[in-house]
Amino acid sequence: MGMTISEKIIAKSAGVSLVKPGEIVTCSVDIAMIHDSSGPRRQGPRLKELGLNVWDPSKIVVISDHYVPAVDTVSANILKITRDWVKEENITNFYDLQGICHIVLPERGHLKPGLFCVGGDSHSPTGGAFGTFMIGVGATDMTAVLATGEIWVRVPETMQVNWSGKLNEFITAKDMMLALCGRIGLLGADYMVCEFTGETIKNLSMDERMVLTNMTAEVGAKTGIIAPDNTTLDFLSSKNLKEIDMELCSDEDANFATIEKFDANTLEPQVAAPHSPANSKNLSEFRGINIDQAYIGACTGAKLEDLQMAAKILKGKTCSKTTRLLVAPSSTKITAAAAADGTLEILTEAGAILLPSGCGACAGLGAGVLSKEEVCISTTNRNFKGRMGDQDAEVYLGSPYTVAAAAITGRIVDPREII
């Protein structure tokens, strides 16, 4: 019996020739990524208590993105703890206020096919877009990883998510993932790996592939993964990465627990209603709902292409008087690129308010949180009750096109009606 991509990577890092779903193995970790919120402030004191330094400073990447920039002394202190700890542990891969961890990690060339990585954040599966097997863990698990360089895992089964056909104009990876959430629900891929396959995936850019793997966290998956191809190779070469395993793929006789098939040709814009990504339906079901805030941000929804999508809708238009549009580009490099190509100008001329690159309002931490009974439409990945501010706020999820269209009209509308 052959193996899936994930099984191959797990077997390699466990030092065995074969693994089967359900087995528990101990894997050595290639890269451990932590951020300011779940990172040094938690692991620092614990490692000290254990009398240990990190196992290998060169394999650790630290990114301050959750509490940036500091808004009060509590968050300022968290950022300081992070800076001090990185110095103390001699960690050179440190990105302070450079953008959101899941974006910065590949942007700075830390990921490539075949690596086994862990991240101290639930959206760590994002790394799977690059053929990396990357899982999210909590702070105590991460402490053990930082101490030992190892982690136990139960080998997951793999669900194949197969997309055939071609996406229509103004339909995006976000719509694809909301459709998956709507179909299989928050537990639909419980403990499985979602491996994305098919012609639609092959035609997606890296920015769009990252949305797919990022949002596997929303269907309960352990992670998501996509086999490397020329698009991956182009991206990695631009980061000067060498020794890229382009052969990595699932064997023909690999065992998939289930296969979910989708047809891209018929996909409509999707919107998830409050308070769950699983409440996703065709946008037409929510048409006309009034929107107070349109938010373009987070690791899922403010990459360069996301900003360009929004700009395509907003070009020459202005935001509704009753709706504020907030844009928090996912990284400082993205901000620079969007400034250089004119995207930012289009957005700000339409009335967008530019926010720092960081998690911000996505998890209710930074600027842009919602008040009681306010309604927001957002390019972020989850809309749980209370996540973006007040418990009684309502958050809808949609693609950058959909969010930009809502900013103009002040209500949920099909972006294709605006053009």
Binding site: I24, S37, G51, L52, V74, D141, A147, F384
Partner: protein, 181 residues
Amino acid sequence: MNFNFVQNLNKGKAFVYGDDINTDVLAPGAYLKYSPEKMSKHCLESIDPDFVSNVKPGDIVVGGKNFGVGSSREQAAASLVILGVRYVVAKSFARIFYRNAFNLGLTPLICEDYRKINNNDILEINSKEGKIKNLTQNCEYNTNSVPDHLLKIVNAGGLLAELKNKIENNTLKTLRFRKDN
């Protein structure tokens, strides 16, 4: 996070909630920047404002499917531990929460009969045998058996305590000991 880990808190009142109890409900983002102790005072407040004032050490939280769904924030499990909860009974758990729980000394128990448990029922748990006694209704439910390596972690008092034991017994190779120690 250092808890005074008290074991055998296996008997208490059931606090019953529904499906998809997520990490934003267990550990609201607005309080994430504070200490786990301060954070725990807001556990579950958006669905049950009285939980924190009513819960006592040994009490048991009962959920439906997908308990702990959402972020990797460990405070979701830590808050319950700080409040004295040692067992969560549910139909299923989100995977990161499941790991975090064991790591912090909280045992998640998968139980098909979770619906039969009423709010305020008194439960007694024997995780080794996989049994939950409902003393109020005078009946017993089965739970899925907990994998051995996870029982070991929880019995040691969590992952760090287990790691400490391993360090003392010299069973790990890759460690770098601090010079200032």
